[in-house]
Amino acid sequence: MSHRKTAWAILTLTVLALCLTASVPDAAAQKKGGVLKVGNLGEPPTLDAHWTTATITEVLAQHIYEGLYSLDARSQPIPMLAEGMPAVSKDGLTYTFKLRQGIKFHNGKEMTSADVVASLNRWGAQSTYGKTLYARVAEVRAVDKYTVEMKLKEKTAIVLISLAIPNNAAAIYPKEIVDKFKPAEKATEWVGTGPFKLVEWKPDRHIKMARFDDYQPRKEAASGYGGRKIAYVNELLWIPVPDAATRVAQIETGELDFADDLDLNAYERLKNSPGVQAIVAKPYYWLVAVFNKKEGLMTNQKLRQAWQAALDMEPIMKNVAGGHRELYRMDSSLAFVENAPWHTKLQGLPWNEHDRDKAKRLLREAGYKGEPIRFMTTQEYKWMYDFALLSKQQLEDAGFTIDLQVVDWATLVKRRNNSKEYDVFTTGMGNFYDPTHHIYLGPNWPGWTDDEELNRLLAELAREGDYKKRFMLWEQVTRTFYDRVPVARYGDLFGLRAMRGYVKGFDATLMRPRFHNVWLDK
């Protein structure tokens, strides 16, 4: 018997050892050195992470800056510049953050609580997510050199997630920079604590970042956007290449080591290109038609329901994805599958019904007389134009009259803020890490969803701290969403990236690319 036990123990240990060996990358294989050339679609509007929600800024800035918290592979907050998780008072109104000691900014200065307090206050005054959190914050103060305390006006569940999200992030800057650039003014000096420091920004040529030699990685294993980050490459060279076809050609010839935001039609070509690895970026966006609920035709809920009932999403998604099944996903959850804590699996939702009779009935009930519905889209993002065009055809078959207005992106983002100028507009929804961050469910974003029931549920979600209760509330939000139809949710579209075969260590599961822990094997 004991022999058998010993044998089982040896076997178990062997299997465990094998698993560990397989999961940990071969340390000897990781090489330091080289320049990683990344082709992206253009110039960021700024590198001030507090200032914009633009994706390109997020991607670049997250290599320079860090926040107190980051997100792990399950999109859960994990400590980054904070030593650990905060101490929360019993009444849930005081959060105490212990900072890591000896963390250096790229200018050589040590990070202290003064920098953190100043940065958080700036972020709270300017960032979309910061403003949401700061509406509930009474005070943020330095307790001592390495301790920061946040006092809340009311109990809320969104403190950690708000501090951890990478978009429009709560990045920590040196206090001197915060003092120099007030919240409404873009910072033009970019100093952080991240594994790469900014060396040079030559617009339309490149943004050059170099390894920050004084960077102190965390001890924990890399996970998601956080954990142990090591800059293996000497330099990151971000090259703006506005033409997608040129980016494809440059990755094929090896002029670029990594190319982001590629045209989905290039998928087959890249898959068959020697030395190139095509990467399907999941998730990318869920496609969405946003209804103007402040004034005009689409304030009528029946009309919005008719829109939702009329659409046959699968052919639309397939077409937008260039005919590739692996580049889109049919899903009704408001949170992506990859955002596991908030992904719902509710059955019987009125999504993708393609029920023309129901749509016609709802149109009759809405009292719709064929008035043209102004549907605004842009060709600057081909996928937006494609799904708007295909929707128009299906909707007109169901009895709608669609006035498709194609404008450039700058016009669209201006007009969508004026309720008199449109009825519906196209856009994409990225990953929202907390249910309270879904902008299209609230009254402050174009489309102006101001539904009593949704507002009540979201307020409760912001207050409630227990995950199970929050998830049930989130399911109620999802059901209410499909009844009120503040926006029409289409399927999930994936993005396309490509890299040369010698680029190693890249985490393809991340929604936005990160190049720490990436090395060149050539």
Binding site: G42, E43, P45, T46, W51, T52, T53, A54, T55, T57, Q126, T128, K131, N167, N168, A184, E185, K186, T188, K202, P203, D204, R205, I239, P240, V241, P242, D243, A245, T246, A249, Q250, E252, T253, E255, E380, V407, D408, W409, A410, T411, V413, K414, R415, N417, T427, I439, N444, W445, P446
Partner: protein, 314 residues
């Protein structure tokens, strides 16, 4: 001549004033908002309003125009909303790639266009004429971007002879600069060479019908001397006009070429500025382009006098 030049340069001022005013009004009147683009897709209306105030975009249009004039008088073109630097600096940084591209493309256009036109005109109706004019027709018809993409596919992706895209300064690394510039210059210059070839051919044919050419032949001059010494120079005046126009067209044509070949020049700058409504940059580039157009025209007029002694400016 000096008085003439001074008068012409003085005449630039009112034209420039009209150009900047029209451009200012056009770019501000078309819909679109730089602030909404800067702040990103998730910004709300309040944030947008705050940032508009910060940039002075909430002021009445006439007030913004007067401020623009005042800055212009001080030689200040303003500050880019996106690039975090003065417009003059942004223009200066991008002038070199565009000028190098234009010069290289013009060189290609003249190198192909003028000899082709002369040969076709001198041997009208021959196979040379038909072949070259068919090529010229193709050159006019084929869109520049299509040619560019095919060049990239053939010479860069398939054959690997030249880089796909990019730019190296001719002053820092002339060899790399030549490798980067060859495909853009040929694809941009080929289109224009077709126009030059067709004009050169017509002029050559017209000149070769003149009495003095018949006289030259009657004197027993060799055909080469007739063509190059007597006909060519007289056929050149309209060709110089076309080359001048071509240079001006290249400023516009460079936009597409710069995008496809990722050349960080003025063309790329204005496209991104228009798309993002970076008003000061758009105004700056248009002002510079308008000045370049007018100066090119002036240079063409000056060159006339050197080619044709009968032309004199009071």
């Amino acid at each position: 001549m000096a008085t003439y030049l001074f008068r012409r340069l003085l005449a630039l001022l009112p034209v420039m004033l009209v150009v900047v005013t029209v451009v200012f009004l056009l770019i501000h009147l078309i819909p679109g908002d730089p602030v909404a683009v800067i702040l990103g897709p998730e910004a709300n209306a309040q944030q947008i309003e705050d940032a508009r105030r910060e940039l002075g975009l909430d002021r009445p249009l006439h007030e913004q125009l007067l401020r623009f004039y005042a800055r212009l008088l001080r030689g200040d073109l303003g500050r880019s909303y996106f690039l975090d630097r003065p417009v003059t600096q942004a223009l200066w940084e991008r002038a070199e790639p565009t000028l190098v591209l234009m010069a290289a493309a013009l060189f290609v256009a003249v190198l192909i266009g003028v000899p082709s036109g002369i040969v076709a005109g001198a041997y009208q109706g021959s196979w040379w004429d038909r072949g070259l004019m068919t090529l010229a027709l193709l050159g006019v018809c084929v869109p520049g971007f299509w040619l560019s993409l095919n060049f990239i596919y053939l010479f860069s992706v398939r054959l690997g002879w030249l880089p796909v895209a990019g730019y190296a300064s001719v002053f820092q690394d002339p060899v790399a600069a030549a490798r980067y510039m060859l495909l853009p210059a040929v694809s941009l210059g080929f289109n224009q060479s077709a126009l030059i070839a067709r004009i050169a051919r017509s002029c050559m044919i017209e000149v070769l019908r003149q009495d003095y050419i018949r006289t030259a032949r009657a004197k027993g001059l060799a055909e080469r001397s007739v063509i190059f010494l007597h006909a060519f120079r007289n056929a050149l005046v309209p060709v110089v006009t076309v080359i001048g126009i071509t240079t001006a067209i290249l400023i516009g044509g460079a936009v597409v070429t710069e995008i496809v070949f990722n050349i960080p020049g003025l063309g790329r700058l204005i496209i991104s500025a228009i798309l993002r409504r970076d008003y000061p940059v758009v105004q700056g580039v248009v002002l510079l382009t308008a000045a370049a157009y007018m100066l090119i025209n002036l240079m063409v007029d000056v060159v006339y006098a050197h080619i044709d002694p009968r032309i004199r400016y009071a």
